[in-house]
Symmetry: D2
Subunit: 374 residues, 4 copies
């Protein structure tokens, strides 16, 4: 599939960091959806660098342009395509790196796979910049999910060794989630957030970088979405999430910690809440057998420290086949975690929308729109 993803709702991502443009085609989106362009801009701006001392000063003006699939203020049902033209690119910074693969980056693997023909500038198609089209897709998907009252929110669970509290995935405080959504540096414990910021600035000072963990929750999902085996919610979510550069681990519910529980603790018992069947705990993160239980879907994603650092590192000159060192110049983030949040949420939103379309079909979910008076 390469740069195409999805079953019914497909996204096709293209572009290179320092090429003419990056973009995305959304195929399978139902007709008749009004899009809030400011919301999309807002999501892109959450991902955008250059906004704070915690991120790279490269100023990408992520102004998207919709080329098709949108007419008279609504989706047409045909592929919705959007492009973002690259502007503030300093390609010369990268030329000397052409044959010197940067440790932790995809320069070497890209060279091997593409025989040296890939666009090496700024990581090319491997660049984190390619998450902008993903965030665009997610911003569209989120708007459709919002119509079903489905909300996605995240916080920074940890930066390096400083940890935030965890989401309570049983008792949901929707107001608190909305605050997180509007925050540039979302944490549950403000004090932990303060320490995280200090850590990032320390790393920045030393031209180094730090990573962290993002915890994401999706609420108001109905039970019954997903399938056993290869179309399980965890399988598809993980597939999408690992496509985000820098993600090295994913866990649902209690995740790796569930291995330290006994079955009698890990099994979420069923209870009644009014006329709804719920579970009294949520160690399984809202998924059993690959299918949603109706409990909040909870997952965590490990983001490695930004590989671009201003410190000398060992590498090999691919042409001369000699060991040497490299110092990555140019602009880079001391910590990518806050900017990765909208990408993580976008991947989740895209998968959930696809699951809804599969369950409800073209006519199901959007039958309402069909009778819309034009």
């Amino acid at each position: 599939m390469s740069s195409i993803f999805g079953n019914k709702f497909k996204i096709s991502i293209f572009g290179e960091s320092h090429g003419k443009a990056i973009g995305v085609v959304l195929d399978g989106l139902p007709a008749g959806i009004e899009l809030d362009m400011d919301f999309i801009k807002g999501e892109l701006s959450r991902r955008q660098p250059g906004k704070s001392i915690f991120s790279t000063p490269r100023k990408e003006k992520d102004d998207f342009e919709i080329l098709s699939g949108y007419f008279c203020g609504r989706t047409t049902g045909s592929p919705l395509s959007a492009v973002i033209f690259n502007r503030d690119t300093k390609s010369r910074d990268y030329e000397e790196l052409k044959l010197l693969p940067r440790p932790g980056h995809a320069d070497y693997t890209g060279f091997v796979k593409y025989g040296g023909f890939n666009d090496y500038r700024g990581g090319g198609h491997f660049s984190g910049r390619l998450t902008a089209p993903l965030v665009f897709a997610g911003a569209v998907a989120k708007q459709v999910l919002k119509m079903q009252n489905i909300i996605i929110a995240s916080h920074i669970k940890s930066i390096h060794d400083v940890c935030d509290e965890s989401f309570d995935s049983i008792n949901i405080d929707e107001e608190a989630l909305k605050e997180l959504i509007n925050s540039d540096f979302p944490v549950l414990d403000a004090l932990a957030g303060q320490k995280m910021k200090e850590l990032i600035l320390d790393a920045k000072k030393e031209k180094d970088s730090v990573g962290g963990i993002i915890e994401t929750i999706v609420i108001n999902l109905e039970p019954g979405l997903g399938s056993p085996f290869f179309d399980g919610v965890e399988s598809r979510m993980a597939h999408a999430l690992f496509s985000i550069p820098a993600v090295k681990g994913i866990e649902f519910g209690s995740g790796f910690d569930i291995t330290r529980l006994r079955g009698s603790q890990a099994n979420d018992e069923f209870v009644l809440e009014g006329d709804r069947i719920v579970t009294s705990t949520n160690h399984n993160g809202g998924i059993l057998g690959g299918i949603t239980t109706g409990m909040p879907l909870l997952f965590r994603v490990a983001i490695k420290p930004t590989p671009s650092i201003g410190i000398s590192q060992g590498t090999v000159d691919i042409q001369k086949m000699q060991e040497t060192t490299i110092m990555v110049k140019g602009r880079h983030d001391p910590c990518i975690v806050p900017r990765a949040i909208p990408a993580v949420e976008a991947a989740a939103a895209v998968v959930i929308l696809d699951l809804l379309f599969e369950r409800d079909g073209e006519h199901g979910l959007f039958r309402g729109f069909k009778s819309a008076d034009r």
Copy 2:
């Protein structure tokens, strides 16, 4: 996709735990491959229950029967299909559970998705028993990988709170890996293994269960397999691995721990080893930008404690919509981890074979067979 997986090499799994048979169709396997049937039996036997005090006494005779795609001792290039007839099934054990979803199982989500029409006996299509066809597919894939010298090995990284050592993913001891492959309870540290077994027996005594972590390594992969974004090795591996029931987390290389490193530590520096470019550390687990680096591929999978336990648990009668309790009778494993290893390896093998086919095509990898004298 539901129960079909793969790009060029596709597997289609079918069957229910207590139905007539379970099976698998392998589509896209090249022609001319001789299969070692004893090896396949051995792999199925690693997964098979009833062999030791650590697993359920249900005795499944996992005798597979190949129905197509194999002729004169070699694959034909057409779909290879195999079935395993179910024999030792005691369906009556399950009848009373029809409307009482077992906590931690997919009974409730299956009921919602399939409207009560799914085969509820023993978990039906959701059953861990469905990993037998996956293990069959993996056993076929492993044989092809072995021809390329690619070896997959695993050990039990932890059971509950007892941890084994970790794989050294830089200096590989192939002999030690082969020993692990032949072990029923593979660990690096025998003492830890002993403690793990005690823990399992303790849980069994108390009719409870425990989970654990499996660590898997794949060696001798060439660099350049996989793609950026949605066809990345991590994406596809995670997709396949999360299809295994009970898996709740996946991490590659240093995984979640990489978030506690700085960029200067996490970046694997490139060095020369003879005329090969390698990395001096392997925090990225052999993958950069979704593409193999040529270093050992390393990942860990979190297996939750077996949900079937002999202790009374709270549930809801779906028909009466009343809270009640349930005591799961019948046979079950106090710990599924050792039996899950061949399934985890199978998922990895299937993905890697698919990657090889994509890179080399139908004629590439197997051109050798084509000229075979018949």
Copy 3:
């Protein structure tokens, strides 16, 4: 995709003509459907050889066995798999043909593609026998379509140079269609049918074979199924239909003859029929822009003369690389057309069911079943 087809409703076909068994996995079929096994047997029997003087005397006992996906008389929602064991196989007839490709058959192309490892007996996986699993899938699909009142019927439009009348695709006589469905040799004009049979017997006497054209109609389809471009109804139908061995041409509506009309004649004008929008002619065969119009879907399929004939033909010994002749012994049909009808209808049924699932989703079409009292 090879032997797997479909978007939401996928079929995976396996087997070889003289192997142990042939079969099919239906993935994505909703739960709760009662299947009429006699209807399935009837469909298989329409395809079955050995029943009349017009077909091969090979007696295949096409007794299917359902291995999974069916429980308590209804589909479970999990993959439905069925196998048909091969019995009346005389493999020795084929051994001498191993290196002598039969003209008009896939022996040579199969040899090249699979390097000589394919099962050459009776055409192996290329055999028309592989349409039996397709007919099984079609028989299941037709039952679901019948619930929506969608009916598929066909007649023999021509055998060699003898032509039947054409379907009136405006004024539908449902009773006449039902008669065709129950006929072994369905024609609209009995006299033409008589001449066709004589032609077939003539060919048989001379150990030769004849081909013909099948015309198929699908009624009671709602407008709006299908998509522009690559998911158009014609694209998907043609994809499925050309998978049937011996099909060499496909046309929809007036097909090739539409090229001899002017636009003013070919354009089907819209008129009202009560409160329904219909067209007064149907040159477009019920499809505009890849989407159903609600008018009967009409198509024709060209079936080449059976390649197996009892006359000496020129071929090349692949090993010796010498020109030689071959005389195909064994059993064969003088005309495959009547037996091809259920396969053609099956391909159509499978595509239409897939289109319905895409439009209505898992919950849409079958929401009724979900509330079924068990």
Copy 4:
């Protein structure tokens, strides 16, 4: 799939006739290919309207712009995306047609499917204009095929009731094929061509339109491409070809005429030509069992008369639900056949390139490029 097509080499088409832009993303194209931009322009120009008295005077400036996947004069291996901005659009012509579906067009089916939200101007996404991105994709594919010496050529087999000669698919005259490629109105018999042109002008004078048949040949294909059943060459070709608006029939080799031959005539006998196995006739059009034989691949496509005509036709006002008439104003072609040729060839080229990639993999076909000195 909707507007995405392909297995390894995928194309994703987007845009609407009167929207901002139309375009295409090519996913899976190998790295290192130099593209001849003039050749691409030439192909687009063959499809372009406004060039002669036989086509619509709308002047589309089909200047494409490559946004990604091309760097330093070669493909990068990442998705190659190209857009064509729409310029000469007169949307007002179409406003009155919003609720009056044009006979023969997809206006009505689009309205039903998309609930009236589709971009109705000029057919929107259904427009023949969307073949421009397909032609772009084909122009890229053709260049790669040319490196393998694979050539695609076509002629107008018929316009209305005037027929050209047929291709000789046994004795190939490559020079004659090249002349056809460079012709605006390719025919084998110049006299027939003259009559065709007169017919078109007659139809134009009467504000009517005519259709015709395109015959296409592909030479120098190796044997062994394609698969039995659902990945057969005919299946995939037909899938792609029926996506072109106005195509109503497809046949391979002798096609529908093969039904009037006996088996002894239709079976192409194998003979030796030097050390190559060929067939002495080519009724099967270069394909047996879905796989190429190595003989020229031959097919014909039926193109219906342009539905846009300047004559009053019956339709229904969708809102008022009243019968009425419509007169299509604006620009239209009296005959689309000559302009459809590059689209037909593009569909074929895209499928063949995909088949080559599947057979040879990423490294196979283009291994040469990999060692390229940069």
